[in-house]
Amino acid sequence: MKPSPFEYSAPASLEEALEVLAEAGSGAKVLAGGQSLVPLMNLRLAAPEHLVDLNGVGSLSEIRADDGGLAIGAMARQSTLERSTLVEELVPALAHAASHIGHFQVRNRGTVGGSLAHADPTAELPMILLAAGGRVTVQSKARGARAVEANDLVRGYFTTAIEPDEILTEAWFPRLEGAAGWSFQEVARRHGDFALVAAATVVRLDGDTVADAVIALAGVADRPVRAAAAEELITGEAPSAALAEHAADAVRGELSPTGDVHASSEYRREVAGVLVGRALSEAAQRAQAGS
């Protein structure tokens, strides 16, 4: 198999990359780790006229504590999330979820920015960004830098708010602080496969009751979504197995996932409920342990 012919640019700086991208027009694509784009090109489902390769832009790989959270350069490899003590300390859910992305050979190349910009509805990282309430920075030559909040980033299947002349340069995740706990749950046919359903929760306690909760899901819609009704249901209540089960039922009620060859709509809905139940219990336990 061979991709369609394309022009190839390997800029050495972000400024140069933005300039090349602006000149190349809408037929151009940014190449990060290539673990999603190149399969699509090999299958000729994607045929960009021009690839702007960011692998030579060393400044985009930094991971640092910033603004009460964790800033991750777009070209940071997914495998570095698993090994970074800073990630484990500030956003543990991210380190944990990263180990579920593909296989380690894929994570050695796959990047944080690439996964967020690709916006696969079953992908782990856009869901974690949503659950954490993070944001990304995108830049263009014409308009400079702007921030896009997690809930504005993904607009549908493989579609984001990023314009053709923009590059996602950094993702920012707020630090999990205080009496808060997290959980990440995923069901896939085999380890390393695309998730059928994945769930991420954050539960913050105020004394014995839930001050606020976030329930995010992947694989149940055209983008990562939050289960708002279930979140509201448990806020102000004391965490318990019964409450988690009650929330799980609410999740089953508010979702209408699309079925496909991998799993039916009914199965995804059922699994989403089960995973949310488990994820709320685990997050509440972690919050209690940490408070």
């Binding site: 198999m1 061979k2 991709p3 369609s4 012919p5 394309f6 022009e7 190839y8 390997a10 290539g34 673990q35 190149v38 399969p39 090109m41 090999n42 299958l43 690839l51 390769d53 692998n55 593909g102 296989h103 380690f104 050979q105 894929v106 050695n108 190349r109 085999r190 380890h191 390393g192």
Partner: protein
Amino acid sequence: MGKAAITLTVNGAEADGLVEPRRTLADFLREDLALTGTKLGCEQGVCGACTVLLDGQAVRSCLLFAVQAQGASVTTVEGLAASEDFDALQKAFSDNHGLQCGYCTPGVLMTTRALLDTLSSPSENEIREALSGNICRCTGYHGIVEAVKELTAAQA
């Protein structure tokens, strides 16, 4: 859409090429350098047959363009065959029936090499997780896992 001149290190020796940007590293290795030990299965990053080491890290050579390997060091199964401890690798896979048709074997060996380089005494779970990115349709994996367990036990 002209061709680009590239220079990289393949199995310790300098390799030059003149390639279209769309030429994958796997095709460059197999067709331009005649290193056909690296196999192509799915060409979409799933099967693992094309796994090589890029600057010491296991990657899919079907998902990299040869132009991206400019200046890098690539190790293929042919390079592994020239390494000091290859006899042990070969013997472990042979003794444990870690292959049948052999098509997936080069990729499995490169994954095994990367695993042995990163973890000194991996658990069976870690071995199975590392190998989960290499599809084998013959062995049922049991012999492969046994071979890798024997190697890691010898290394520990």
